[in-house]
């Protein structure tokens, strides 16, 4: 019995200190660095640090604190939990370097250092500036701000307005339930950059492709014969014009649903306009009627001049009529209704759909099909291609739209660009094959083939947008 009591007492003595004595706080985070976030517009400072030992087991929470003075006081600007907020999670800022792995990262807006009332004011003004369409501009020059926003902006004061351009001090505090430890403060200033280094692969690839195209243009200009594969859809353009001439019916040419600057797809409208110039010249030569209904007033105006020039070049300025390029409507279905009605009434012998299209593609092409017109569809809108395949006699797929002008005109400059495009295509096919093999090798043997991921990531960057 005594032995039992003695054992119990010994157990209690062993157990007691572990319950009552305080655990040691976590160590202060090491490797803390604060620097202007690369590749941003000067909106933030990046703070990086190494994880403390056993951060997950001890449920460490990191607080990023900011102050405008080295001695403080520091205010909390962000919180990062153990196992979260890694530098390699932001390839748009730091790319895919191996050194980004295993390092914590937080992106801090220096305005976090402002007192809450001033911070709220600055936020409101920045939102107003953004709404007015001038991000980061001087609010006093912006007409879009109302009186209240203007007063707010004035009350912020020059010093607070330029908060992002001043040095601030940052420290990382590692916290557990047993205590906390702060790193020494480090200073950094947010500022804009002159080059987005993450876009380097993008720039190199663009320069390579542009260089290839310019190189082939020079070769073509020197008179070297360049082979051009046959594109049935483009060969059919002459057939369509001939048919319209023989039947004595008009030829319709549509330049798509976009203007010259609606979005990045507007280049297809430019391509459609270039082909129109060539088609109009042939139409004028054969003395066939041409109609080009438009959905965009700018395109209508430019095409009017282009067709006029084409008729002059063909030696038929007398055949040019002012109503060849009617502007219909900017609205999608108003335009569609009007053009389908015109097709139904005039029953053109041929219709050419060049440019970018949306839902109206099938409405137009089916109406054209119903009146028995020979139809050529050419679009880079991949979602509308099936409709043109179903309803048109010939369809030019994507890039063939851009090749059309060169094909029709046979001009050396345009032929050179086509060969440049082919070079780019060949290069990208090669990259796709090598990239697929590299990605597979990295997945199968990360230790042996690990560095191959740089090849994949290099080409991943431009296509990630």
């Amino acid at each position: 019995m005594t032995v039992r009591r003695l054992c119990l007492l010994a157990l209690c003595l062993v157990a007691l200190p572990s319950r009552s004595l305080p655990q040691s706080p976590p160590p202060a985070p090491a490797g803390v660095a604060a620097f202007d976030t690369p590749n941003d517009k000067g909106e933030s400072v990046s703070v990086t640090w190494n994880p403390v030992a056993g951060e997950k087991e001890n449920s460490v929470v990191y607080e990023v604190r900011i102050s405008d003075r080295a001695e403080g006081p520091f205010t909390k600007a962000a919180e990062v939990k153990a196992g979260e907020g890694w530098k390699d999670e932001a390839p748009d800022l730091f790319w895919y370097f191996d050194s980004n792995k295993g390092v914590h990262h937080a992106r801090i807006d220096p305005s976090e250092a402002l007192p809450p009332t001033e911070k709220a004011k600055l936020q409101k003004v920045n939102e107003a500036i953004k709404e007015a369409g001038r991000p980061g501009g001087d609010a006093s020059l912006i007409p879009g701000l109302n009186q209240e926003q203007r007063e707010l902006e004035e009350s912020i004061g020059q010093e607070n307005r330029q908060i992002r351009g001043r040095a601030h001090y940052y420290q990382i505090v590692a916290k557990t339930k047993d205590g906390e430890a702060a790193s020494p403060p480090v200073a950094a200033t947010a500022g804009g950059n002159y080059f987005n280094t993450v876009k380097t692969p993008h720039l190199l690839l663009t320069l390579f492709l542009c260089g290839g195209i310019i190189g082939f243009i020079i070769v073509a200009r020197r008179g070297k014969e360049l082979f051009l594969r046959k594109i049935p859809g483009l060969a059919a353009l002459d057939e369509a014009i001939g048919r319209a001439t023989e039947m004595g019916k008009p030829l319709y040419y549509l330049t798509g649903r976009l203007g010259l600057s609606d979005n990045e797809k507007s280049v297809s409208t430019i391509a459609a306009m270039i082909v129109l110039g060539k088609v109009a010249e042939r139409v004028a030569t054969y003395d066939c009627a041409l109609k080009v209904p438009h959905t965009d007033p700018v395109v209508a105006g430019v095409c009017q001049e282009m067709t006029r020039e084409s008729y002059i070049r063909a030696g038929r300025p007398d055949a040019f009529k002012e109503d060849i390029n009617p502007y219909i409507s900017t609205d999608q279905f108003s335009y569609t209704a009007a053009v389908t009605a015109m097709i139904s009434r005039e029953k053109p012998a041929a219709i050419m759909y060049f440019g970018y299209y949306y839902a109206e593609s099938l409405l137009l092409a089916e109406t054209g099909n119903s009146v028995g017109a020979i139809q050529v569809g050419a679009t880079d809108a991949d979602h509308q291609l099936p409709f043109f395949f179903a309803a048109c006699d010939y369809t030019l797929i994507g890039e063939e739209l851009y090749a059309a002008a060169a094909y029709v005109s046979r001009e050396p400059i345009l032929l050179g660009t086509l060969r440049g495009q082919d070079l780019g295509k060949g290069f990208l096919i090669l990259v796709a094959i090598v990239g697929a093999l590299s990605a597979t090798a990295v997945a199968l043997g990360p230790e042996t083939f690990g560095p191959l991921h740089y090849f994949v990531d290099f080409f991943k960057t431009p296509f990630a947008g």
């Binding site: 941003d40 991000p135 980061g136 501009g137 804009g192 950059n193 987005n196 720039l203 492709l209 195209i213 243009i217 203007g259 010259l260 990045e264 280049v267 297809s268 430019i270 391509a271 270039i274 110039g277 007033p297 209508a300 105006g301 282009m306 006029r308 020039e309 070049r313 109503d323 009617p326 502007y327 219909i328 900017t330 609205d331 999608q332 279905f333 108003s334 009605a341 009434r345 839902a359 099938l362 409405l363 092409a365 880079d380 991949d382 099936p386 409709f387 179903a390 994507g398 890039e399 739209l401 851009y402 002008a405 400059i413 345009l414 660009t417 086509l418 495009q421 780019g424 295509k425 990208l428």
Partner: protein, 227 residues
């Protein structure tokens, strides 16, 4: 004259084309402001062009009505609609609802004329798709047969009845065949995406080549002539 018609537009195209391109690679507020400013100018020019377009529209259709050319009645409807829309818009100060949340005459014009007419045109698409599909799915060649087969599988997988029947078959075979979601997923995410990416790469190269020609002044067709 040649300077205004050719050299100046070519210079401006090069200048603004290169500026926007440089701004894409330069991440700072100044570049943001420059590209923002260029876009604003563009909006202003487009607004002016819209006025020009509307004027041309009225002139062309006005001429049709005055000379009573074929189809002049349609022109009358176009002019009438434009004038009614503008008049009601001005009358109601461009508002579609009153402060009591009731429709204004302009709002009525928009919601009970414009929207239903638009919807009617869009709804016609269903019939056009049916007629186009009927033609496209005639399996006369190997390619057309592949298209038909793919369409049937996708339709079968998307329709609840098809999915239900395949599930029965799946369980009856002891889960040894792929699920319908696997099959349609493979078709849509592998075959279709592979084809689409091929097209998109070609399109992107075409866009780069065309843009380059325009920016460096090799392509002058958009100025009204080649020379």
């Amino acid at each position: 004259m040649l300077f205004l018609k050719r050299q100046l537009p070519l210079f401006l195209t090069f200048l603004f084309g290169m500026t926007v391109m440089v701004c894409y690679y330069v991440p700072n507020r100044a570049s943001d402001e420059v590209s923002g400013e260029i876009l604003k100018w563009l909006e202003v020019m487009l607004a002016v062009a819209l006025i020009l377009g509307a004027t041309v529209l009225v002139v062309v259709h006005g001429e049709q009505i005055l000379k009573q050319k074929a189809g002049w009645a349609y022109s009358l409807i176009v002019i009438g609609s434009i004038l009614a829309g503008v008049a009601l818009g001005l009358w109601e100060n461009g508002k579609e609802y009153t402060e009591e949340a009731e429709l204004t005459s302009f709002g009525w014009f928009y919601f009970y004329l414009y929207i239903p007419l638009n919807a009617t045109m869009f709804a016609l698409l269903a019939f056009f798709i049916a007629s186009a599909a009927f033609r496209a799915f005639r399996a006369r060649t190997l390619a057309a047969f592949c298209l038909l087969a793919t369409a049937i599988i996708i339709l079968f997988g998307q329709a609840p009845l098809g999915a239900w029947l395949w599930e029965k078959l799946y369980h009856a075979t002891g889960d040894r065949i792929p699920t319908m979601a696997d099959i349609t997923g493979f078709m849509q995410q592998v075959l279709v995406v592979a084809g689409k990416r091929g097209i998109l790469i070609g399109v992107s190269l075409g866009v780069i080549a065309t843009s380059l020609r325009v920016i460096i002044g090799l392509e002058r067709g958009y100025l009204g002539g080649d020379k």
